[in-house]
């Protein structure tokens, strides 16, 4: 009898995995609740990515709480394939009026990140190098890429985990930016 039950094991495993899939389907991996939504950006202070073209002095909380523009904070890494995929969109967003693009380079070797930016272009106004992932913990990210929208007062308004796609930008990001700019 026990031996017979052992043959049922593969089926039971499948049922469990399928159950996870079913619940996984209801979740958009990009839409994550963030404890930060509606709250000020966390305190952090990151050194510069040595050698990066546009941003020499690193990045800290003050960069996101000053000024009147909408700020986007994009976590990226040179080893992350989806980051490569969303890069053209980030570049396009960075070129918009009244939007400032900040980058946090997550758990990356500075020379790799620099080369990556040189090759693809550097869309970021400033870049903080988060080599240890400490700032990532403060922001509560679970991987790269992730993008946060921060309003003029330094309040986090939106979080998107995973690569941005043209649909998400059209449907969610742009309307939100427009609303915040008003």
């Amino acid at each position: 009898m026990v031996r017979r039950l052992a043959y049922l094991l593969p089926f039971l495993l499948l049922v469990i995995v399928a159950g996870y899939f079913l619940f996984g389907l209801e979740r958009d991996p990009g839409e994550l609740p963030s404890a930060l939504l509606g709250k000020p950006v966390p305190a952090f202070d990151l050194p510069a990515l040595t050698g990066a073209t546009a941003s020499e002095d690193g990045m800290n909380t003050d960069d996101l709480t000053s000024g009147r523009d909408v700020k986007l904070v994009n976590f990226f890494a040179s080893w992350c394939v989806p980051c490569r995929a969303e890069h053209p969109l980030i570049t396009r967003l960075a070129g918009m009026d009244g939007v400032r693009m900040f980058g946090i380079n997550y758990k990356d070797a500075p020379e790799d990140a620099t080369g990556w930016l040189q090759r693809l272009g550097d869309p970021y106004e400033r870049i903080g190098a988060d080599r240890t992932g400490r700032a990532g913990i403060e922001w509560g990210i679970y991987g790269v890429p992730e993008t946060f929208v921060v309003d003029a007062d330094g309040i986090v308004r939106m979080r998107h985990a995973g690569p941005l796609t043209p649909e998400i930008v059209e449907r969610e990001l742009l309307p939100l930016i427009e609303e915040l700019q008003r």
């Binding site: 017979r4 049922v15 996870y20 996984g24 209801e26 989806p82 040189q118 090759r119």
Partner: protein
């Protein structure tokens, strides 16, 4: 009109698939041969209809018919013809159509080549294939119809993601799907065997060529994908353990295990229920790969546009196909008795070890890929599992696999003589040690792990050669005798040797390119020169060029070594105005021992251009090795035992002490 004809053909194919899935099953259960015969005709008809449907969609792409929504979303008049055609399957709907086209082709091949199968087995195999086809055609018609019209038609299409406009990636999906879908035949054979309640050596012999064909194609598909990532993504890497890469790697791993366990069923009439389970699991993993890519449960650069309705539908197909067959397995498998016990030190013992390790590796990759999802669903937090996890778990599992690959083929069936085999492998051992020590001396003590891996590759290659030399009694018998023996070794055995040698080449390539890559990142102006691994590279500047649907900035490097010109490298950065995207086209010069790899980035004539130059030792070996592996598979596939003289099914099995066929 042609588009509607394609749609209509697909609906007819659905009806035929249903007929193919039901009549032969009823016929096989009741012994009605006319019902069983339906399967053959339906399979050929279904394939023809899907082919018509696929041709209609291709026609819409080639003629840029922008009244078809799918063409609008993925094509553009300015696109080169090749990418108009490959654009057919570079999107969700079209790729599903390709998927069922290949499924239909396999069904037709079973119908065509299956004349030597017992009628009831063939009927059941075709019926299972028909049911899978029915499910997927239904999926296309209800959730992903590529023939939907759009009104009014826009003047031009939106174009295809430039990253996908590439010959390597254009042919990656067909090979991949041929592999995925090819495993459906093994699956269908497994389900048919479960229905019939018996698995015997003849069954294994019928399953093996189909599995082998699918495996060859999947190997090629994965290799093409990784080659593309290497030259197109432009940072010199070739494998990223991305969820979607893993989704294709999982069926490859379990398919490899299946190939090996089927040998044990064939030769020793053992491991039956395990082999059936592997056949079911391999196709289930293929289906899961299809599900993961299209449902959006995991984020990945490869993922298609996601739609929960599609996800639920494919999940339902997965549960019905895999769940149904695994339930059947739970009922029937306990009665499949193996052909007696066998010793751990024997050929079959080594194949069992291979299966244990490959199954563990499959489970490891499976867990690493799905762990983020599992945790997320349990609200236990969000994590991402990166390459470090896979390198720490998968790589150590491959070490014993390769050690055993050297020894296993030399062991005799039933009772092997391990000390004897090891003593005959002294040459391979010595060579491996020499390579390891030589690497250490040449590259320094910090390369100790890489030196071990190179020694492993050398061990595998040498033991493959030793095994062959032993078989033909090279230098121990007159040369004519060795020649005579060499010609009489079965092709399947040559196939094994070639495929194993291919893996040795891959291991060397992966090791060397990961351990000893040289990378130079510079800001360069025209006239500047840098040294990369002994090559002198002079930057000649950048010029603009116009492609069919892009504008390119092409840099030029004159590469010299010791004063003599080696080559000119012309890396490009292409801007696609229609899609609003840029791609990097790496320039690669290969000596087959190493690649010189150049990528050009941002910049201008005054400040200079940022360039990235690599010297990647042995990296071409990764793909050369994969091609060698595939060749090995094809050689084995051409073995005459797979084509003619397939033995009639034995009425009564001889006792467990049945002698293994002489090799």
């Amino acid at each position: 009109m042609i588009v509607e004809a394609g749609h209509f053909a697909l609906v007819l194919a659905l009806v035929l698939a249903l007929a193919q899935g039901t009549f032969p099953l009823i016929g096989a259960a009741t012994g009605r041969s006319d019902f069983m015969a339906v399967g053959r005709h339906a399979a050929l008809g279904q394939f023809t209809l899907i082919a018509i449907s696929f041709a209609a969609l291709t026609y819409a792409y080639v003629t840029s018919d922008f009244s078809v929504a799918n063409v609008v979303q993925n094509s553009h008049t300015a696109k080169p013809l090749l990418y108009k055609i490959t654009g057919v399957w570079a999107n969700h709907e079209g790729s599903m159509l390709l998927w069922i086209l290949i499924l239909g082709a396999f069904g037709a091949m079973v119908a065509f080549f299956g004349a030597n199968l017992p009628a009831s087995l063939r009927a059941r195999v075709l019926a299972v294939q028909g049911l899978i086809g029915f499910g997927f055609i239904l999926f296309i018609l209800f959730t992903s119809n590529p023939f939907d019209r759009i009104w009014p038609p826009p003047p031009d299409g939106r174009g295809l993601n430039p990253l996908l406009q590439d010959p390597g990636l254009a042919f990656h999906p067909p090979f991949l799907y041929f592999g995925y879908v090819g495993f459906s035949v093994a699956f269908a054979f497994a389900v048919a065997a479960l229905i019939e309640g018996r698995v015997d050596p003849a069954w294994a012999r019928w399953v093996r060529p189909w599995t082998l064909a699918a495996w060859c194609s999947l190997t090629l598909g994965i290799a093409l994908g990784s080659w593309w990532a290497y030259y197109e993504l432009g940072w010199g890497g070739f494998w990223f353990w991305d969820p979607v890469e893993n989704a294709s790697f999982l069926p490859w791993l379990s398919g490899t295990a299946l190939l090996h366990s089927a040998i044990v069923v064939e030769k020793r009439d053992a491991l039956k229920s395990w082999t059936v389970l592997l056949a079911v699991l391999t196709f289930s993993l293929s289906l899961m790969g299809t599900f993961l890519v299209r449902s959006g449960v995991l984020t990945s650069v490869h993922a298609f546009a996601t739609d929960p309705a599609r996800g639920v539908f494919i999940l339902a197909l997965l549960v019905i196909a895999s769940g149904g067959s695994l339930l059947l397995y739970a009922v029937r498998a306990p009665s499949m008795q193996g052909g007696g016990l066998f010793a751990p030190i024997s050929r079959e013992g080594s194949l069992v070890l291979n299966n244990l390790l490959l199954a563990t590796a499959t489970a490891t990759v499976f867990l690493g890929t799905l762990y983020p999802l599992f945790l997320d669903v349990l609200d236990a937090g969000k994590v991402s599992v990166g390459p470090p996890f896979f390198n720490m778990t998968f790589v150590p599992l491959m070490v014993p696999v390769i050690v055993a690959m050297g020894i296993g083929p030399m062991l005799a069936w039933k009772r092997g003589d391990l000390p004897g085999v090891l003593s005959r492998l002294w040459l391979a051992l010595a060579l491996a040690a020499a390579i390891g020590i030589g690497t250490l001396i040449a590259m320094g003590v910090q390369s100790v792990l890489a030196a071990l891996a190179m020694a492993l590759a050398g061990w595998l290659m040498a033991s493959v050669l030793v095994e062959w030399a032993e078989r033909v009694k090279l230098f121990r018998a007159p040369l004519q005798e060795s020649w005579r023996r060499a010609r009489h070794i079965p092709r399947s055995s040559y196939g094994m040797s070639v495929a194993h040698a291919g893996l040795a080449v891959i291991v060397a390539g992966i090791t060397a390119s990961s351990a000893w890559q040289t990378e130079v990142i510079r800001q360069m102006r025209a006239g500047d020169t840098v040294e990369v691994a002994g090559y002198s590279m002079q930057f000649e500047g950048v010029r603009e060029q116009r492609g069919p649907n892009y504008i390119s900035r092409q840099g030029e490097f004159l590469v010299t070594r010791n004063g003599s010109v080696v080559t000119t490298l012309t890396p490009e950065r292409r801007a696609y105005p229609i899609e609003g995207d840029t791609t990097t086209e790496a320039a690669i010069h290969t000596t087959w021992l190493a690649d010189l790899y150049a990528v050009i980035g941002d910049g201008n004539a005054e400040a200079g251009w940022s360039v990235r130059l690599y010297h990647n030792p042995l990296v071409p070996w990764i793909w050369v090795g994969a091609v060698i592996m595939v060749l090995g598979g094809l050689v084995s596939l051409s073995d005459r035992r797979h084509r003619v003289g397939v033995p009639e099914r034995r009425r009564a099995r001889p006792g467990p002490a049945m002698p293994a066929p002489a090799e």
